[in-house]
C-alpha cells in the first residue's frame, strides 16, 4: 500500500442542512489537514458539526462548497473509491443483532473484500484484542453495550483501512471497555500505520491524541497537539483541597469568584482554572487558610477546552439557587433499600442490593451497562415491581403505595421523555398539569422553569429542535415542576457535551443543598465525585458502597497511590471477576 503523506484534507468545506424552512449551517469554511499515521481527536460541544465532518469525509454527504481529499482521492468525484479505502464507525454502529459475532465479522469481511486466506489470522487477532474470542457464536444482540462497541470496531477493522473514522466510539461505554477500545486503536496505529480521526465527548481522551481539532458552531477553532492547546494555561490551573469543607461547598465558593473560569470536582480536589495572569487569592478561604492547599498542576486539554469556549461565550452560565422550598434536611432517611431483588424469568438482574440515602444527599449508582443499575432505579421509581426485598421511598413502601410514593418523586428518564412537536412552554405546561398543578400555581411553576433554566428565549421553539443540552435542561425542569423531595436522574449526562454536563451538576448541587434527595446513575466515573455516596454495581450485585473517597481508597496500590474514580472502578470490577 503506497503511503500518501496527507491522509485527509478539507479545503474551504461548507455544509448546510434544511429542516423545514430553516437553513442550519453545520460546517462553515473548514480547512483541515491530517498527516498520515497517528490519532487525531475531533472535539467540540454538541452541534459543533463533528458528525457532519465525519460523514463528509466518508463520502456520505456532499459538501455545498469546498474540496475534500481522502487518501489522494477526491471524495466528491469518487465516493466509492474513498469507501474502499477507509473504515468508518458511525455513532450508532449498526451491528446485525440477529447475526452472531462470527457472522457479523464474515459479512464485513465479505463487504470489505478481505481475501479468504487472510481471514483466520485477522479474526484471531481481532477476537484476541477485543476479548470476544469466547463469544463468537453469540448473537450480537445478546452482547453487553461495551462488547457491541468492540465488535463494531472489529467489523470496521476487519480489513485494516488506511484511514479510520470513529464517531464518538466511547460514548455510553463502561470504563473497562473504553480502555480496551483505546488499546485497539493504538495498536492498529502502531502496527498498520493507520491514520485515525476520532470524535469524543470525553475531554480526557483528547490528551491521548497526537493532534486535536476543536470545532465550535461549525467552525474550526484550532488544530494542534493537545499540549499546544493546554500550554498557554500553564500557571492558571490549580488543584484546591480542603480538609474542612466539603468538595461541593469548596467548588461553589471557587466558582463564585471572579478570577475563576472553571472549577470541577475531581477525584482529589477541585480543579480550578483562572483567567489569564490571575491566581487564587488567599482571601478566598478566609479563616481556614490553614486547612486549604492550593497546588499548581499541569494543564490538560480539558482545561483549555473550557477556557476557549467560555471566552467564546459558550461557557455555562452560573446557576442561581433554584429556590425549592424544601425544609433543610435532618438525618431523615429518604430512600431505604433492603435485600432488593429482581428476576426476569431465570435471570437475576438485581440480587441482594441494600443501601439507604439520607435526605439532601446526592447518591450515585455506578456500573457498566447491564450491571443492574437501571433495573434498581426503575424499581425505586415504582415503574417495575420488586421481586423480593424491601424498598421504601419517602417513607412509603413501594409494594403497597407506589402511587403515593410517586407523587413525591421527580423522574428524569435517560432519553429525556419530551414531546418533540410541542414547544418548550407547552411541554412544561403539560408536565405541570400531569402533576396536578392548577391555577396560579401552574402558571407560577411554568414561569419559574423558564426563568431558572434560562429557557425563556426558547419558550416557543419545538422541543425536538433544541440541542441536546437544552433538551436536558427542559427534561430536568419538567421533572421539578411539582417540587419533589426526591429526584431520580437516570444517566442524565449521557451524550451531553462537557459544558452542559458542568451546568447540570451545578444545578444538582444547588438542589441537594436545598434539601432535595438526588439518586443518579452515570457511567462518567469522574462525575461520581459530585456524589456524597456511591454504590458500584456489577452483574446485579453491589461491589461496594461508600463515599467517593472511601471507594478510591479501596483501589490504592503502591503503583497508584492516588487512584482516580475510574481507576477505582476498573480495579474493583477486575477484583470482582477474579474472585469468581
Amino acid at each position: 500500500m503506497s503511503q500518501t503523506p496527507v491522509a485527509l484534507r478539507f479545503e474551504g468545506v461548507s455544509k448546510q442542512f434544511r429542516t423545514g424552512e430553516q437553513i442550519v449551517p453545520a460546517l462553515k469554511d473548514v480547512d483541515l489537514m491530517l498527516a498520515s499515521g497517528g490519532v487525531t481527536g475531533l472535539l467540540g460541544p454538541d452541534g459543533a458539526g463533528k458528525t457532519t465532518l465525519m460523514r463528509l469525509a466518508a463520502g456520505l454527504l456532499t459538501p455545498d462548497q469546498g474540496r475534500i481529499d481522502v487518501l489522494g482521492v477526491d471524495a466528491l468525484a469518487d465516493p466509492l473509491e474513498v469507501q474502499r479505502r477507509i473504515g468508518y464507525m458511525p455513532q450508532h454502529f449498526g451491528l446485525y443483532e440477529d447475526l452472531s459475532v462470527q457472522e457479523n465479522l464474515d459479512l464485513y469481511a465479505d463487504l470489505q473484500g478481505l481475501p479468504d486466506n487472510q481471514r483466520q489470522n485477522r479474526y484471531k487477532e481481532l477476537m484476541h484484542l477485543t476479548g470476544l474470542g469466547a463469544f463468537t457464536g453469540r448473537l450480537a444482540g445478546k452482547l453487553s453495550g461495551g462488547m457491541k462497541q468492540k465488535l463494531g470496531l472489529a467489523c470496521t477493522l476487519v480489513r485494516p483501512p488506511a484511514l479510520l473514522l470513529l464517531d464518538e466510539p466511547t460514548v455510553g461505554v463502561d470504563p473497562v471497555s473504553r480502555r480496551e477500545l483505546w488499546q485497539i486503536v493504538y495498536r492498529e496505529v502502531e502496527q498498520q500505520g493507520m491514520t485515525v480521526l476520532l470524535s469524543t465527548a470525553y475531554l480526557d481522551e483528547a490528551d491521548r491524541c497526537n493532534d486535536v481539532v476543536l470545532l465550535n458552531r461549525g467552525e474550526k477553532i484550532d488544530q494542534k497537539s493537545p499540549q499546544a492547546f493546554s500550554d498557554p494555561l500553564r500557571g492558571r490551573v490549580f488543584e484546591v483541597r480542603s480538609k474542612r469543607v466539603s468538595h461541593r461547598l469548596l467548588q461553589q465558593r471557587l466558582l463564585a469568584r471572579e478570577e475563576v473560569v472553571d472549577a470541577v470536582i475531581l477525584s482529589h480536589g477541585i480543579r480550578t482554572v483562572t483567567h489569564q495572569g490571575q491566581v487564587i487569592p488567599a482571601q478566598a478561604f478566609a479563616g481556614q487558610a490553614d486547612a486549604v492547599t492550593v497546588r499548581p498542576v499541569e494543564p490538560r486539554f480539558g482545561d483549555a477546552f473550557i477556557a476557549i469556549l467560555s471566552a467564546a461565550g459558550d461557557a455555562p452560565q452560573a446557576t442561581e439557587n433554584l429556590g425549592l422550598a424544601v425544609k433543610p434536611g435532618s438525618d431523615a432517611v429518604a430512600i431505604e433499600v433492603k435485600h432488593l431483588e429482581r428476576n426476569f424469568g431465570a435471570f437475576q438482574a438485581v440480587s441482594d442490593v441494600s443501601f439507604s440515602v439520607r435526605r439532601g444527599e446526592i447518591f450515585g449508582l455506578l456500573g457498566a451497562n447491564g450491571a443492574g443499575k437501571s433495573t434498581t432505579f426503575r424499581m425505586l421509581c415504582g415503574l417495575l415491581p420488586v421481586s423480593a426485598g424491601e424498598a421504601r421511598v419517602a417513607g412509603e413502601d413501594l409494594r403497597n403505595a407506589p402511587a403515593r410514593a410517586r407523587a413525591r418523586i421527580g423522574y428524569m428518564a435517560q432519553k429525556f421523555s419530551l414531546y418533540a412537536h410541542l414547544s418548550v412552554r407547552q411541554n412544561l405546561e403539560f408536565f405541570a398539569s400531569a402533576y396536578g398543578l392548577v391555577g396560579g400555581r401552574h402558571q407560577q411553576r411554568v414561569d419559574w422553569a423558564l426563568e431558572s433554566f434560562q429557557l425563556a428565549p426558547h419558550s416557543e421553539s419545538e422541543a425536538g429542535d433544541l440541542s441536546l443540552g437544552y433538551k436536558q435542561r427542559l427534561a430536568f425542569a419538567a421533572a421539578l415542576m411539582h417540587e419533589p423531595d426526591i429526584l431520580f436522574l437516570d444517566e442524565p449526562t449521557s451524550g451531553v457535551d462537557p459544558l452542559a454536563r458542568r451546568e447540570f451538576w451545578n444545578r444538582t448541587i444547588h438542589l441537594a443543598d436545598s434539601g432535595v434527595t438526588v439518586l443518579v446513575t452515570t457511567h462518567f466515573m469522574e462525575e461520581a465525585n459530585y456524589c456524597d455516596r456511591v454504590v458500584i454495581m456489577s452483574d446485579g450485585k453491589m461491589l461496594i458502597e461508600g463515599s467517593p473517597d472511601e471507594v478510591k481508597q479501596q483501589a490504592q496500590t503502591p503503583d497508584n497511590p492516588e487512584p482516580s474514580m475510574e481507576d477505582a472502578f476498573i480495579y474493583l470490577i477486575e477484583q470482582g471477576s477474579e474472585g469468581e
Binding site: 466518508a58 463520502g59 454527504l61 450508532h92 446485525y96 465479505d110
Partner: protein
Amino acid sequence: MSDTVRYGTTRRLRGMVRKEFLQILRDPSSIAIAFVLPVLLLNLFGYGVSLDARNIPLAVVIESPDSTTASLRGAFEQSNYFRPKIYLSIQAAEAALQAHRVQAIVWMQNDFTRKVLSGVQSPLAVRLYGVDANQARITAGYIQGVWGNWSAAQSQQNGLNVTPPAGIQPRVWFNAPVLSRYFLVPGVVALVMTLIGSMLTALVVAREWERGTMEALMVTPLAMKEMLAGKLIPYFLLGMGGMAFTVAMAVWQFQVPFRGSYLLLSLTGAMFLLVSLAIGLLISIVSKNQFVAGQIAVIVSFLPAFILSGFIFDIHSMPAAIQVVTYAVPARYFVDILKTLFLTGNVYPIIWMNFAALTLQLIFFTALVWRNSHKNLE
C-alpha cells in the same frame, strides 16, 4: 484491477445474500409472511369467505297447511340453496327478517291453494332482506327458480293446460361447479407475492435505516447496485418459494383445477414479483422508518392488490374512473393471468398482454428506484 473488482463484487454479493438469508431464518416474522400467511389467507378465502349463496335461511309462512303448501315447502327444503324455517304467521316471520335471522320470506297466504289451482298470477308473496342488494338479488333469483320448477310440475300434475315456459339450460364454462373458491384461491397467490415483494422488502430495508446498519453498510465498498441486488435476490427467492407453496396448496388442498402451464406461471410470477420488489424498494427509499414503510406498503400495494385487482371485485362493474386507476395496479395483470392459467388454460393473447403490461411497470419502477437510490445520506 477490473479482475479484483469483479471478484470483489461476487464476494460482496455473497456476503449480503448470506446475511439476508440468516436474518430471514432468524426472524419469525419473515417466515410468517412467506409461509404462515398464505395458509391463513388460503383457508380464509378457500373456506371462510364465500360469495356463493348456499343454505340461505328462509322463512316459509304457511297460513293454512294442506297438500299443496306441503309440496311447495318440500321443494324449498330439497333445494341446496335454502334452509327453510316454517312460520305460521307473517308477523313472526317479519320479526325474524328484521333481526336478519332469515334472508327472505316466502308467504303462502290463506287463499294460496285456491289461487294456484285457479291459475291466478302470483299467488306467492316474497319479502327480501335488501340491505345487501347483491345477496337479495341472488336470493330472489333462486326463489324464482324453485317456484318456476314447482309450478311447472304442479300444472302438469293437475292436468292444467299450461305449456311449460321455454327453459334455459345454462352451461357454465371454466368454473363448472360455480364455486367462488375457484375464483378466489388463485388470486391469493398474487396477494401473498405482494406481501413478500413489497411489504416485507420495504420493512427490512427500513429496518436497516432504523437500526443504523445502513450507514455502516454505505461506507463499505459495497456499490449501490450490489446493495440492491443483495436485497432483491433473497426476497425474490423467498417470494418464488411463497408462490410455489401457495399454488401447491391451492391445487392439492383446495382442489382448484390448474389448466395452464407451470412454466408460464413461473415466468409471469417472476415478472410480477420483480415489480413488487421494485415497489418495495421504492417505499423503503421514501420512508426510512418501519412503521411508516409498513403503512405505505399496505396502502399502495396490499390494499390495491386486494380491492382493485379483480381479485374479489369485478373490474368491469367498477365506475369508469376507478377502472382507470386499476391499470396502475400490477396485481390486476397478474390476477388476470392467474385466473386464466388456473381456470381456462394457456390463453396466450391474455397472458402476453398482461405480461407486457407488467414488463412496462417493471421498467418504470426500476428506473424510479435507480434514480432515487444514492449511496449517501442526503
